[in-house]
């Protein structure tokens, strides 16, 4: 009998333990339940009486960011989710405005030396950190050098700082951090020396790796960005109010922001709902004001009907979806064969009936949002005749009668699979070649691609800043992100030449020439240029999705419904 009681006690204790543990987890987000039906009633109100917009009393904006941001330390962040939070709470020397132009942000003004190699930034007198400290040149120096310190791991994006003189040497070759071209002239003056004239350097200073951190608070405490605590001091239009991991991030307007007049939104709730269907239903139910790109995605099957009822917003995104050829392996070591395969793809068909987001067919490398000329491209889409000619020429050069079976690889994903099946069909029909599809899980896939273990494989590239060099420099040399094993001295020389060219037009000329060489050699078959697709409530105003896949809430506001 005694034994029995002891067991009972044990069971009870165990159960109680579970219960206690359970109670601690559930205090996270009661504040969000109040406004859940705010947007429900009149979401189809047309914009109506223009000019006389009335601001909604409740400036609370709800958005889904899909996953936990892997890092809210600007120095260690390297992904779009983290970027979407950081862009609101921090601010760099410059900021990309609603029109996609760089404008002064933390910097009040800047000067560029005649040789384009030295930038002198004057930091705003009224720029302050959320704890009241003034933003100083030292904060920038500290943040940038922290990233460049080889002792700090997780700084994946350190290479974003490499245009700065001595940066790469300090990070990778053991040179001293003191030799990096970052000089603090006084509290409000920052001088940056570059390796060479970098026409997109101002764009870079708007990127999160270039954000400052408050060195007085952060110094000696590398864990400052783990929680929304007193330590998490920011300088952007919003502050980090709370961060319930994997659940919700709440941002509040920063009242002492230098441009606080512009900022209308008071609260931004960023939920982390992984499932695209659930997020869409939350949007329909009024729990979210925004669904889809760039912070999450819309379910693929929902796109056509959303497009039909006119609620879908689309904008170009600077990125290209392509098939890389392994140019070291037969038959793709032959340029005519590569051209044959590229010409035999019906891109228009793919974007019309598979992806359906008004993507532009890609017959070039650099997206038209950067170079308008590329809407046309370098060759004709879906030209079966031309493809057959190339094929014959190629086969002759290789001394073959017909093509051996080809394998087309992609990483496991519904959309990639649909596109690959369509392309398989097109190649079979236009070129008479057997195509075997091969899909692998993402990590495995990257491994096989890196080892050159593929014939043709899917890849994509999104620009970090608005410049053609983003795309062109991938293929400057073998290795890194260039899986094609293709390189060309002429191409590489042109890129180098462009780096020292001060004149914008002349530089573009050089880069265009490089792209032409690249498209003549065709180490990749571009398929389409990406777009952003999203839904937003009618009373959400002035929030634009940038061509770089970023979104800024600084200028956004909600009108009365």
């Amino acid at each position: 009998m005694l034994k029995k009681k002891w067991f009972l006690l044990l069971t009870l204790v165990f159960a109680l333990g579970l219960l206690l543990a359970a109670c601690s987890g559930d205090d996270s987000g009661e504040e969000s339940s109040g406004d859940s039906n705010a947007g429900e009633d009149s979401s189809d109100n047309s914009e109506g009486s223009d000019g006389e917009e009335k601001l909604a009393a409740d400036q609370t904006f709800d958005i889904n960011i899909k996953t936990e941001p892997p890092s809210l330390n600007p120095g260690t962040a390297s992904d779009t989710t983290s970027g979407a939070v950081l862009d609101q709470v921090f601010e760099g020397l410059m900021r990309i405005n609603q029109d996609g132009e760089v404008e002064e942000a933390m910097a009040e003004s800047y000067e560029v030396s005649d040789d384009q190699k030295t930038y002198t930034f004057k930091i705003r007198e009224d720029a302050t950190w959320s704890n009241g400290d003034p933003v100083t040149a030292q904060d920038f120096e500290y943040a940038w050098k922290w990233v460049l310190n080889p002792d700090h791991a997780d700084t994946d994006y350190a290479y974003q700082l490499y245009p700065i003189k001595g940066a790469q040497a300090a990070k990778e070759e053991g040179a001293s951090l003191d030799d990096v071209g970052i000089t603090v002239e006084d509290d409000k003056t920052l001088v940056v020396e570059l390796n060479q004239g970098t026409p997109y350097f101002l764009d870079l200073t708007a990127f999160y790796t270039y954000y400052p951190v408050n060195h007085k608070v952060v110094e000696g405490n590398d864990d400052w960005a783990q929680e929304a605590s007193d330590m998490y001091v920011t300088n952007g239009p919003f502050t980090l109010e709370s961060w319930a991991h994997k659940d919700q991030v709440v941002l509040k307007k920063y009242e002492d922001y230098w441009d606080a007049e512009t900022v209308k939104l008071e609260t931004i709730n960023m939920y982390m709902v992984d499932d695209a269907n659930t997020a869409l239903e939350m949007y329909n139910g009024g729990e979210l004001d925004w669904a889809g790109d760039p912070t999450s995605s819309l379910p693929l099957p929902a796109i056509p009907s959303l497009k039909q009822d006119g609620s879908l917003n689309l904008s170009p995104l600077a990125g290209v979806y392509y098939y890389a050829f392994n140019t070291e392996e037969s038959p793709f070591d032959n340029v005519n064969i590569r051209k044959a395969f590229a010409s035999a793809i019906n891109r228009e068909g793919i974007v019309q009936s598979i992806t359906q987001r008004e993507e532009q067919p890609a017959m070039a490398l650099v997206p038209p949002s950067i170079w308008e000329e590329n809407e046309e491209g370098y060759f004709e889409d879906n030209n079966a005749e031309q493809a057959k000619e190339y094929l014959e020429a190629g086969l002759e050069e290789l001394g073959m009668d017909e093509l051996p079976p080809i394998s087309l690889s992609y990483n496991t994903d519904e959309a990639h699979a649909a596109i690959a099946q369509a392309v398989q069909d097109m190649w079979r029909e236009n070129l008479g070649v057997e195509v075997e599809l091969n899909n692998e899980e993402w990590n495995v896939y990257l491994d096989s691609m890196g080892e050159g273990n593929f014939q043709a494989g899917r890849m994509g590239w999104l620009a970090d800043f608005n410049d053609a060099i983003n795309f062109l420099e991938i293929f400057q040399s073998v290795g890194g992100n260039n899986y094609t094993n293709w390189e060309s001295e002429e191409y590489s020389d042109l890129l180098e030449q462009s780096r020292t060219e001060g004149d914008a037009d002349a530089r573009k000329e050089i880069l265009r020439e490089a792209e032409k060489i690249f498209m003549d050699e065709m180490p990749i078959a571009p398929v389409y240029f990406y777009t952003n697709a999203w839904l937003s409530k009618d009373n959400v105003k002035n929030i634009e999705v940038s061509g770089l896949g970023g979104v800024q809430f600084k200028w956004g506001y909600l009108t009365e419904e």
Binding site: S71, Y159, K171, D275
Partner: protein, 311 residues
Amino acid sequence: MARYLLKRLVYIVVSLFLIVTITFFLMQAAPGGPFASEKKLTPAIEAQMNEAYGLDEPLHVQYMNYVVNAFSFDFGPSFKYVGQDVTDIIARSFPYSLILGLEAIFIALSIGVLLGVVAAVKHNKFGDYTAMVIAVLGISVPSFIMATILQYIFAIKLGALPVGRFDTFWHSILPAVALATTPLAFIARLMRSSMLEVLNSDYIKTAKSKGMSQKVVTYKHGLRNAILPVVSYLGPLVVSILTGSFIIESIFGIPGLGSEFVQSVTNRDYTVIMGTTVFFSVLLLISILIVDLLYGLVDPRIKVTGKGGKS
């Protein structure tokens, strides 16, 4: 008793060691690494990362560190979520899965046992067929379909319950029901067959012939014996439900532990893989032990002793 417990604890440690070892080598054998991404790191930066996370050490050193870490429950920081400790990740995700799991177990157990008993008592009658149709449906409809159906009916059409997230008790109902369906159906079937067996046994007939009421016979004598198979099923069930379901959590947007299991593997987040595996194994092994101990409590015929004399 003490010897029995001790013996079982030694078994637990040995199994844990085996699990840890196998996980480690499977993890290493999987292609790809934690730092692979669409935008490749420069080789120098990648080398620095490998050094910082100890991935440049020879395999046997890594293995030793790994085993020591596993047994001291100190897994270090996640590779993917910079600076977040694995123990913190588990500690903050587990409560969600736990609440949800307890609700689901409560639903599955209460309704499952009830359905099973009804089916057995009304053997081959209307009640039996109804209960078994529900059970078969529950087993054959996968939880993610159940989840979507529930969402569609209760959240989208009726607007009675929230579609997703986990804020209040109301948010937890749909995921808990979705999670409970399969085990509920399984328990109902298990309960029915063992109840039928028990109701036909001699001692029940004796009890009946002694003139005891149907109720007392069924619930006092029958139920207690018939529930044994359910109890043994409960151990693994509790653990697998408490540690969360990736699909349910993903559909309802709940920040529970289930998604960590799956995502850590896709991310090759070695420390989180290790942490979640050890956590799951410890829970599983302990709950099996508890179930075995409970057995002795429910069924006095089973003696829990060190001599291996249990049947």
